[in-house]
Symmetry: C2
Subunit: 603 residues, 2 copies
C-alpha cells in the first residue's frame, strides 16, 4: 500500500517538507491548508514540484464547520468550498478532508448533516473531487467514526465517503469491540486513512491531539489493531500519517520524515501488509569503539580499569583493549571529533550479520561501506539515528554444520605484546547509556526496537539539578544486550551529550578498589546519600562504610540488588562498574539524580 | 506572614537554590530531601549556610508511605523515620511533611492510620519535631484535606497536625463549598501551608502536578480564595511555595526565585494580608526607545514611515522621531548591543510616575537610576523581566488643581530644525510585541499584570514553520496600552528575539502606499493567502487586489475588522502598520503563521 504524510507533520517551509517526504521514500502527501497559504509557490508550482519529487497529492485538508448549519451559513460554506475546489483543481488534488463541525451554529441533526454533505459532494463531483468526512474526537455532535459513517451512508452520494483517523478513534479509549464496526463499512467508502499514535496520557483530547501525537509504534495506541480492521473492510488507499507534535515542528524535516516512514514500514509489517527481512536479535556486545584525537586519557583510564591493550588494527590507528569479554577499541583516526573522546561505534554480536544489516537497510538505516579500507575484512554496519555506528559481528565464530563460518571481526587485528595485566574482575559490558539528540528520543527507541528486535522498558524521568531527563532502556531477552537511551531536558549542545559504558563485575568492591589502587579516580558521592541508604536498608557490618569510601551506590528491586560506581569523564565518555545480583533488572535510575549532581559538582 | 519556598521549585545545586531564595527575599525554605541527598554539604553545613543567608528551614520533606500499613512494615518505617529525625536535628528543621500513602500495602483504615501517625508523632516529639500530614490528590486512600484532617483529629497528638497544599486541594476541582471546612480546622493544627498554582488542564493529576505547577497567579487555580479560608482558620505559619515545573528546573535559579517571591507578594495583597502601593495603570505609550550602534537603518525606516526627527537629547546621542502621537527614540549611546538595533525601553504615560515606580519596586522590579546623567530631568524607571526598561512619564503634563505639575520627559530634548515632513497617517503606537526569553513567559505576564495593573487576555498558540509560539496580550481598559508578550518554542538564541512596534493608522492602505512611495519595503505575502481571504470573505471591488499589492493582511472578530502589514526587519526590530475598525480586539493572531513564514522566507 502506498504511504503518505501530512505536511503538518514536518517542520519548515512547504518545499522543505515536500523534499524531506520524497527523500524519505513517501509516495504522497496530504497538503495541510496553512502550509499552502504560507507558501510563495502557486498551486500549479506545488503540483509540479510534487510531480518532480515523485509525490502524489493524496489529500487536501482540512475543511471545517461545513455541515448541519442554518441555510444562509451553508450558502457561505458552499461559496468557500467552491473556492477550495478550484484551488484543488489547480493543485491536482482529488480528495478533500471535511472534519465534523465544532461550530456553535451546528445542529444535532443527522438528516440535515447528510443533506448538506450530499450537496457539498455534488459540488465536489463537478470538479472531479471526493469528500472524505471525518469525526473529530471533539466534534460538537459527531465524534465517533460510526456516527460519521451513518451520516455518509444516509447521504448516499458517490462523491462522499468517510475518512478514518486512528487518533480520533483510539483516543476516545474505545473498547476493542467498538472497532468491529469498521469492517462493516464498504472499503470503497473509506476514502482515506490517517494514522497517528500518541503516548497514553489522561488529558484533554484536543490538547493531546494538537501537541503530543507521534508516529505509530512510538505511543501507546493500538494503531496496528485498528489498521487490521480497516484492511478487513477492504480499504486499499494510502496509509497516511497526520501527526501534530511540538517537537517535530521544531526538529529538522529530513530526519523526521525518515523516522515517520520507518514507523509506517514497521506498522505494515506488524499488520501483515509487508514482509521485511526478519529481525536478527543481537546476542551480546562484542565491543565499543571510542574515537579521540588523543588516545592517552582513554588509554590511561582503561589501563586503570584493568584492561590490557591486546591487539592493534593492521592498517588503522585502532587499539583493542580487553578484559574478560569486555572489549574497547580506541581509534585515533580521522573520525576523531572536536569534542574529545566519544563513543562512535558499537559492535553487536550477531548470529547473522548480513541479515541484521538487511533488516536495518529495509528500515531506512543508512548502511555503511562494508570495507573501510582495502584489505579490511568485510563488516556489516549501519548508522543509528544519533550517528552511532552499529557493527553486526561475530566474535570467535563457530560454523554450524553445513554453514560457512562467519568472519571474525578480530581478523583485522594483530596481537601486540602486552604484559599479562592483572585484570580487575570486569567480565563484560553490562550496558551502554547513550544520550540522544533532544528531538530524536522517540525515534531512537523505535529504531532499536524495530531494527534490532530489542524490547523497550517503560520510560522513566530522572531529575538532574538543571532539568529533567528521560531514560528508556532497550534490551534483548537474556539481558546480554542492554542500551539505556536518554534525553536531556531541551535543546542542548549535542557535542556535550554524555555516553557511558557500564562494565559488569561480580565484585564491584574489589574492582573499584583495584581501580583506585592504580590511581583511578571514582566519582565521590555526598555523605547524605549514604546516610539515606542507612535509613532505608539494613546492611551488614562495614558494608555501608565500604560504599562510602569507594563511592558505591546501591539499589534493590523485587528481583535482586544493584551496586555501582562511576569513573571520571574523558571527553563525553565515562565508565560505570556494576554488580547485578539476583536478577536485578534496572539501571539504578533511583540513584541517577545523586550521580548527576555529583558529576555537575565535579566539573 | 513569612514567605518560604521549597528547594525543588528552583534549578541548580542546593547552595545555588538557597542563595537564590535568600537574594529574592524569602524568609525560609523547605528542604526537599533529594536536594539534600545530592549535596556535598553536611546537614550542619546546610544549617549554617541557611543561617548565614537569613533563611529558616521551615520544613523537611517529604516522608512517604508511612501510615496504615502492617506492623512489621510500620516498624521499618519508624526505623527510617528515626534516621530522618536525627538528620533534621542536625539540620535544625522542626517540621516534617508526611504525604498520605500511595503504597499498595496501605490499608483503608483510618483508625490504623491515626494510631500509627500518633506513634510517629510521639517519636518526632522526642526530637522536638512536629509532623505535618498532607493528603496527596492521588493518595491511595486519603486524598482530600478533610480526610487527612479527620485522621489527624482522631490521632489527637500534639506533635501531629496537617499540611494544606493548594494544588492538591484545588486540582481535584473542588466545589468552592468544599473549601469551607478549612475554616473549621483549628489554626494551630494547620502546621504548614504549601502554595502552587497550575494552568487549567484536563490531564492526569500526578503528571499535572509533577510537570506543570506554577507560581500563584500564573495558572488558573483560585489560590487566593483558598488562602483566605486558611487564614480564616487561624493559620499564621509561613506561606510556602512548592512548585514542580519542567521549565523552572532548567531556568536560572536567581530570576525564578524573584518571580516566585513576587507571586507571593501579589497573592498576599489579593488576600488582604499585605498592603502594597496601589498599581498606577499607564494611560498610553509615550515612546519606545531603540538602541543601535548605527542609527542609519532605523532612521531610514522611520523616515520612510513618515516620522520626522524633531528633537535631540541635550546631553546624549538620542534622537526623537515623531509622527502624530507616535514617538520613537533612537539611541546610539553605549547601551547599543551587538545584535544590531533592538528595542531597549518603553515610555508609559503615567498619571503618577513616582507611584508607579514605588509599586514596581515593591514587587521586586529593579529600579533604574532616576537620572542617567547629571543635568537630566529625573525619570522614574524600572526593568521588566526581559530587561526592557519601563519609563513612567508624562507627555504635555497639565497640573491638576493644587498639585505640582509633573515634569515633561521631553524637557531634556531640544528641538532640531526639520523639514515639515509629510506625515503618512500614523497616529500613535497601537501595540508592542515583545518576544520573551523562553523560560520567562509566565513571569512576564504576571509582571505586567501585577506591576502595571494591566489585564491579560487568553494565551494563544501560533504555528511558526519551525515551531510553535505562544502569545498573550496585556492591555489597559481602553486599549491605549497594549503589549503582546510572546515566546518561542524552546531555548533559542535570546539575541534573536523579535520585537515589533505596531503603529496605528486610520487608513492602512494610504499609509502603506506613502511608505512604499518613498522606497519603503513591505513584507510580501503569498498569493495563496489572499486567495484564501477571497474564499472566506466578500470584499468590495478592488479591495483584495489592493491588499495583494501592498501585502496587507485582514482579520475580523465579532467587534470589528483589522487590517495590517509589516516592514522589513532592522536588527531585531520591525514595524507593523495597523488599522482597527469597529472595536476589533485582537492582534491578527490568525494571520501570524503566514506572516512568520513570509519573514523566514525573506531572510
Amino acid at each position: 500500500m502506498r504511504t503518505s504524510i501530512a505536511t503538518v507533520s514536518l517542520s519548515g517551509s512547504l518545499t522543505e517538507k515536500l523534499t524531506a517526504a520524497s527523500r524519505a521514500g513517501f509516495d504522497g502527501v496530504e497538503i495541510f491548508e496553512n502550509d499552502l497559504l504560507a507558501s510563495p509557490l502557486t498551486p500549479e508550482d506545488i503540483r509540479s514540484r510534487c510531480a518532480d519529487l515523485g509525490l502524489s497529492i493524496d489529500l487536501y485538508q482540512p475543511m471545517r464547520d461545513i455541515e448541519a448549519v442554518p441555510p444562509e451559513e451553508f450558502t457561505r460554506n458552499l461559496r468557500r468550498a467552491r473556492h477550495k475546489f478550484e484551488l484543488m483543481s489547480r493543485l491536482g488534488a482529488d480528495t478533500v478532508l471535511v472534519c465534523s463541525s465544532v461550530s456553535p451554529l451546528a445542529e444535532d441533526d443527522d438528516a440535515l448533516a447528510a443533506a448538506q454533505l450530499s450537496q457539498l459532494a455534488q459540488l465536489a463531483q463537478d470538479f472531479g473531487i471526493r469528500v472524505a468526512y471525518e469525526a473529530l474526537a471533539w466534534g460538537r455532535h459527531v465524534n465517533t467514526y460510526d456516527h460519521a459513517w451513518r451520516i455518509v451512508e444516509a447521504a448516499g452520494h458517490p462523491a462522499l465517503g468517510t475518512c478514518l483517523d486512528s487518533f480520533h478513534i483510539l483516543a476516545r479509549g474505545s473498547d476493542p469491540k467498538d472497532l468491529e464496526g469498521i469492517a462493516d463499512i464498504p472499503g470503497e467508502k473509506i476514502f482515506f486513512l490517517q494514522l497517528a499514535d500518541a503516548p497514553l496520557m489522561a488529558m484533554d483530547v484536543l490538547q493531546w491531539s494538537r501537541h503530543y501525537r507521534c508516529f505509530p509504534g512510538q505511543g501507546g495506541l493500538d494503531v496496528t489493531g485498528l489498521l487490521r480492521h480497516v484492511i478487513a473492510a477492504g480499504y486499499r488507499g494510502p496509509l497516511s500519517l497526520e501527526v501534530f507534535n511540538d517537537v517535530f515542528r521544531q526538529a529538522e524535516a529530513g530526519p523526521t520524515a525518515v523516522d515517520a516512514h520507518r514507523s509506517l514500514l514497521v506498522l505494515k509489517e506488524a499488520a501483515g501488509l509487508a514482509a521485511l527481512p526478519a529481525p536478527v536479535v543481537p546476542t551480546g556486545a562484542a565491543f565499543v569503539e571510542l574515537v579521540t584525537a588523543d588516545a592517552e586519557p582513554a588509554s590511561a583510564l582503561l589501563g586503570a580499569l584493568g584492561f590490557a591493550r591486546t591487539a592493534r588494527h593492521r592498517s588503522k590507528p585502532v587499539d583493542l583493549w580487553q578484559q574478560g569479554e569486555a572489549r574497547v577499541l580506541v581509534n585515533t583516526g580521522p573520525a576523531a571529533r572536536r569534542h574529545g573522546t566519544s563513543l562512535a561505534a558499537v559492535g553487536l554480536e550477531s548470529p547473522d550479520p548480513a541479515g541484521a544489516a538487511r533488516r536495518a537497510e529495509s528500515l531506512l538505516a543508512p548502511v555503511l561501506p562494508r570495507r573501510r579500507a582495502p584489505g579490511d575484512a568485510p563488516l556489516d554496519a549501519v548508522a543509528a539515528p544519533d550517528g552511532t555506528e552499529l557493527f553486526f559481528v561475530a566474535t570467535d565464530p563457530v560454523a554450524a554444520d553445513g554453514e560457512d563460518e562467519l568472519p571474525d571481526w578480530r581478523a583485522d587485528f594483530v596481537d601486540v605484546p602486552h604484559q599479562d595485566a592483572t585484570p580487575h574482575g570486569v567480565t563484560r559490558i553490562d550496558h551502554l547509556a547513550l544520550t540522544q539528540p533532544w528531538h530524536e528520543f522517540d525515534e531512537a527507541v523505535l529504531f532499536h526496537r524495530s531494527v534490532l528486535g530489542l524490547h523497550a522498558q517503560e520510560s522513566v524521568d530522572v531529575a538532574d539539578p538543571y532539568g529533567l531527563h528521560r531514560s528508556r532502556a532497550v534490551s534483548n531477552a537474556d539481558g546480554s544486550v542492554r542500551i539505556a537511551l536518554g534525553v536531556g531536558p531541551a535543546p542542548t549542545d549535542d557535542g556535550a551529550r554524555a555516553q557511558h559504558i557500564a562494565l559488569a563485575t561480580d565484585d564491584v568492591v574489589a574492582t573499584a578498589r583495584a581501580f583506585r589502587a592504580v590511581g583511578g579516580r571514582l566519582l565521590s558521592l555526598p555523605a547524605n546519600y549514604h546516610d539515606d541508604l542507612a535509613a532505608r536498608y539494613a546492611f551488614a557490618d562495614g558494608e555501608l562504610e565500604t560504599y562510602r569510601e569507594l563511592g558505591i551506590l546501591y539499589d534493590r528491586d523485587t528481583h535482586g540488588e544493584f551496586r555501582h560506581c562511576y569513573t571520571h569523564t574523558v571527553g563525553r565518555v565515562f565508565f560505570e562498574l556494576v554488580q547485578r545480583d539476583g536478577g536485578y533488572r534496572g539501571y539504578g535510575a533511583r540513584n541517577a539524580p545523586v550521580r548527576l549532581a555529583a558529576q555537575h559538582a565535579a566539573r
